[in-house]
């Protein structure tokens, strides 16, 4: 009997050992097999080694002589990063190249690049798509299909129009501390939240507005700008340096460029659409009889500058005598950060005057932008139609198809309320003696 018990125990132990061995084999196979099968090095198809890739950081598309011209900024990932210099275009090892491809379609042009470029073009890291002005005027929708259909290009890359030039003129300008154009432009567009004078619209956002019956998209703009260089080294060769300026916005209608808003108008635009997160406004505050007590001791300047901290916009639609009326109520909270005028900012009455002056300036900006949209472009790029649709859905059904003809005729009033919430580190400006 005891022998039987030992026998069973031995068998049980053997079974446990065997199952443990099987488990170890399964785990080992589980780790080994995927490392062989899934490793890109071993695959014959679909492998993507970093040294085989031409990592694209910016894409430019032009339309020249009935051909699509694609210009890429390709980064050499294996070049040394250590010798990055702000103005060096070529280091010992080439960091960036700018191949161009020509074809009847975007894909064909891209494929043609690989006829002479040894690296496989890889678009997933591109954050910027620059559209040449001529191409934008021609209309882009038909040739943009590739960027929506293909898996490689990201739908969150910013789409921008090259104002007054070709996309190929933009690609290659590197004024941003040695960064490639794509990253330099991308970071500059991300300053949108700080300046409010530009707009960063991704491909996906662009198409969201494009499909709207009542709305036309406004996309970012980039233009070449010559600046006088302050760099001592450069001064000997060339006194100017080319940078990229992103202020303004390009207005598209059915994918065709119809015009531009400048930087100030974009402030108004962003305020109208309720997307102004930050920015700076300079304005004159009219104050009469301010030097009654002979307190001004320095030059009395003209302007006051306010940093926008927060804004909110409400757009109310009403129907007056059968006509659509738009009321824009905007609220703005700001911080005083530069006062050139001799203003006593710890006097609540003066603060109220500054607030009023700021509100008036913003109202002017909004009105100017709206007027340009109505009179010059005759196009609703402000999503006003969307507001009508949301607030008067029954009326909208009747006017939806005619909206772009109705929009120029709508009346509007703008009310801005400014609240100054910070006055900075000093109270009286230096040109005013404290009582």
């Amino acid at each position: 009997m005891i022998a039987g018990v030992y026998q069973r125990k031995r068998e049980g132990g053997e079974m446990i050992r065997r199952s443990r061995r099987i488990r170890i084999i399964i785990i080992t196979l589980y780790i080994l097999i995927p490392s062989f099968i899934l490793s890109a090095c071993q695959a014959t198809e679909g492998r993507r080694e970093i040294e085989d890739l031409g990592i694209v950081t910016a894409i430019g598309v032009d339309y020249i002589d009935d051909n699509v011209v694609v210009t890429l900024e390709v980064v050499n990932p294996l070049s040394s990063i250590g010798n990055n210099q702000a103005s060096s275009n070529k280091s010992q090892e080439q960091k960036f190249i700018y191949p161009k491809g020509v074809g009847k379609t975007v894909k064909e042009a891209l494929t043609n690049i690989n006829l002479y470029l040894d690296k496989q073009v890889f678009l997933s890291h591109s954050n910027i798509l620059v559209i040449g002005e001529e191409f934008a005027k021609r209309g882009t929708i038909d040739l943009m299909d590739f960027f929506l259909r293909d898996n490689d290009p990201r739908e969150d890359m910013y789409i921008v129009v090259a104002k007054g030039c070709k996309a190929s003129d933009i690609i290659g300008i590197r004024a941003g501390l040695g960064k490639p154009t794509g990253n330099y432009l991308y970071d500059t567009f991300n300053n949108f939240s700080a300046t409010g004078k530009c707009i960063n619209i991704s491909i996906a956002e662009n198409y969201r507005y494009y499909y709207d019956v009542s709305n036309e998209p406004v996309v970012g703009v980039v233009q070449l700008k010559e600046l006088t260089s302050s760099d001592e080294e450069l001064k000997n060769d060339d006194s100017t340096v080319t940078v990229l300026d992103v202020s303004g916005g390009a207005i598209l209608k059915n994918g065709k460029l119809v015009g531009y808003f400048d930087g100030d108008e974009m402030l108004g635009f962003n305020m109208i659409v309720g997307d102004l997160r930050s920015g700076t406004i300079s304005f004159h505050t009219p104050v009469t009889d301010k030097d009654k007590q002979n307190l001004i001791i320095g030059k009395d300047g003209e302007l006051t500058t306010l940093d926008i901290i927060r804004t909110s916009t409400k757009r109310k639609i009403s129907i007056k005598d059968g006509k659509i009326h738009l009321t824009i109520d905007a609220k703005l909270k700001g911080a005083l950060n530069e006062i050139n005028q001799a203003l006593n900012v710890i006097d609540s009455e003066v603060i109220s005057r500054i607030e009023e002056a700021c509100s008036k300036k913003v109202e002017e900006l909004i009105s100017k932008t709206l007027e340009k949209g109505q009179k010059e472009f005759k196009l609703d790029s402000f999503s006003i139609g969307v507001a009508v649709h949301q607030q008067y859905p029954k009326i909208w059904k009747e006017i939806a198809t005619e909206w772009q003809n109705i929009f120029p005729e709508i009346t509007y009033d703008v009310n801005v309320e400014t609240t100054i919430v910070k006055i900075g580190l000093i109270n009286y400006p230096a040109n005013l003696r404290r009582k």
């Binding site: 969150d156 996906a204 969201r208 499909y211 709207d212 649709h389 607030q391």
Partner: protein, 374 residues
Amino acid sequence: MKEQVTSRQMMFLLLLNRIATVITVMPIIHMGPANQDIWIMMILSVFYCFLYNLPTLYLSIKFSDLTIIQYMEKIFGKIIGKALGILYGLYFIRIAIIYYFAEIQMIRTIFMDELHPLIIIVVLMLVSVYVATRGLEVSVRTVEFFAPIVIASLILFIVLGFNNIDLTVLLPIIADSTFTSLNLGAMEASLIFTDANLLSMSFPNLTNKKDVFKIVAKSKIYSQAIIILMVVASQVSLGIEQARHLNFPFLKYVRLVKTYSIFERMEAVFLTIWLIIVMTRAVSYLYISSKAFMEVYNQNNMDPFIYIIGIILTLVIFYISYINPKFELLFNRDIQGYYYYITFNLIIPLIAILIYLIRRKDFRKLGKIKNKKI
């Protein structure tokens, strides 16, 4: 020994199946008014889902120890019953084909665009066949483990895309839709969810059959809530019309996630979650179609049927995805599928109920119904 499935496991299995129906192609955004009111349509569709499931649910309760294949044979007799069993088996295979096809399409379009489809299909099928041969109990235990992770991940994806969300897209509410269009859409949307088949094939394995209404209610309500969140997130971030132009709207939403410069390019994470969801569904249908044929042929071993159906699926899926692609099956409304759904989930069960009610006394007399009172 009969495999046992707990109420919680069954609830998660049905829930993942319902989410899998929508997560890839999201056909519901084209239904009914096809506008910003889809979420209302989806709330209404919960009612229609219940309604459509009632006939099979009623029969499952009456024949609680039998699957739909087995009780059809009891009700209609041997010849018609066997024929119906084969038809049900083929219907389940059709559903499995469409889901594998959707998987292949998405994998080939987004994740492994250069890999030969045959490799993807064979790998997927080997995994599916292996899982199916392990039996229902192992599958549902896996589902029970993964479902909370999957649900939490989906909610996380939706939350992380908050900066792309513009809820005003959902305005005006109901103004652009009619009551009729919302209801017709809800009815159509209910036809794409085939979880009732899974329940009717696994009903005998339920440990607590009294919980069946709770299982159905919970799985439908929870899944519908997650589906509504996915649909709304896709619509409000991409816009109504752009979402309709996309083959994989929720994937696009995930690709747009860019939060705090940390959470971005999350497709790889999404792929893992998505694979768990869609594989659950595909494997379930491979399993129940094999089970249907096993019962038709009165066999005890399901493995040969799983292997045969696995091979058939591999060949058919390779054919429709590579040799003669049938995109309309995925990216267009599957009208043919609706006819099948109505036939197999409404018409045949309703006729079966009618026959059952007429012959109820016979069944009682013959003692053919076990556990008639649940």
